[in-house]
Structures are given as C-alpha cells and as structure tokens.
Amino acid sequence: MTVKVQLEDFDLSTEVAVLRRANPKVGAVACFIGAVRDLNEGENVSAMVLEHYPGMTEKALEAIIERARVRWPIADAVIIHRYGPLAPTDQIVLVAVATAHRGDAFAACEFIMDYLKTAAPFWKKETLENGERWVDSREHDHAALEKWAEPGTPKAD
C-alpha cells in the first residue's frame, strides 16, 4: 500500500508496474486519474494551486486505503496526489487498485476516490480571467458517499 503527496507529475505505467510486481495473484487492476479542466462552473480556468495539510494528508489517505481493505480483498493499492501549481490538462490524482477479480478492483477504486473527495485535506484555488477563487466543496461529492453506507452505520458526513 503506497501513499504519495508530491509536487511532481507521475506516470501511470510505472506506478501500475510497481503495483503488480509480477504478482500472479493479481488478476485485475483498476485505475483512476483526475486532471485539471479548463472550465469550472462556467468560468475559464487558466491555472490552479492545490494546498494541503502536510502530515494530516498522508494519514488521511492511508486511513482511506485501510477502510477499503476492510471491504475488499486488495492485493495492493496506490494513491498519488499532487499539490502546488497546476495547469489545465495536468494530472492531479492517481488511484490504482490491484485485486484478484475486476469487481473488487472497480469498486475499491471508486470507493477510495469518493472518500478522498470528502476526507483528504486538499483545497483548490483557481485562477480565472478576472481573479482567483477557492473551489467550493460540492454536495454531490458528499452524496456519492451514501452509496457506500453499510446498513446500521451512521451516515457519512
């Protein structure tokens, strides 16, 4: 299990190769990459800065992977999240999950991203044509967590 919070870009192929490590028990790898778009809420975005909480961020991402491991038999997983200045088309985040079967890989990858969106201390500030703005958190990110709620567990914040 690997968590990296870094300024630098990452390479999907390299990360997946490390994740698989010729492990014959891995029959499936699901990956998600999030990238910077040039349009958000109707405004042109020319640049972005990602701030995070050093120390807490790494712990939060590790806790999310642990939460996923309780639910799915994960052979290995990696989360890489960038911070600092970014431009449209830049990669922001990678989540990759290796499992024996595809259903677990798809589900765990989506679960990790959904939790990351609401629990990992990152904040985006966009540069627009007429100034800068902090991106607001979205209600649908919180709604996305509801599909992972297990019977009898309190609703996720």
Binding site: E51, Y53, M56, P121, F122, W123
Partner: protein, 85 residues
C-alpha cells in the same frame, strides 16, 4: 494549556495567519471552545470563524467534532470543506 493552531486555504487567507502557538485559558477545553475563544478576538476572527460558517476541524491530524477535548501540546486546525481529487 499550550496548543498549536493551524489554518488552511480560505481560512488562512482571511485570517492572515497560517499557524500560531496559543496559550488557551483553562475554560477552553474542547476544539469547539477554541473556535469560540478565537471568535472573541473580533474582526476577521469573528467573521471567519462565525458559527454559521461551514468549517472543518482537525485535532492531531484527524478530522474531529467540536466536542473533542484538547490535550497539552495538541495541534488544532481549522479549514473549509476539502476540495481535492
């Protein structure tokens, strides 16, 4: 009690402070109390940390509820809802 305060993103910008070592009075025992105590400074503090503002709080690197009790030397952070990914 001495605690470490941290502020992030729009909260940090509004307050003009990223971190502060604070010596809180004995009546301040929870993370929520810290918020109220900081509001009493008035000005941008009252505005930014106002009860109606949606803020997240962390204590020792864990997202936490206002009822969480402080411990000597703990790190308390205030920030807006997160927007990573």
């Amino acid at each position: 009690m001495k605690i470490q305060l941290k502020f992030f993103a729009s909260v940090r910008e509004a307050l003009g402070v990223a971190d502060e070592l604070a010596d809180v009075p004995t009546a301040v025992v929870t993370v929520g109390d810290v918020r109220t105590w900081l509001q009493a400074r008035g000005g941008v503090w009252a505005e930014t940390l106002a009860a109606g503002r949606t803020l997240r709080m962390a204590c020792n690197h864990e997202m936490t509820a206002p009822e969480t009790r402080l411990t000597e030397g703990c790190e308390v952070a205030f920030f807006p809802p997160v927007t990573g990914g």
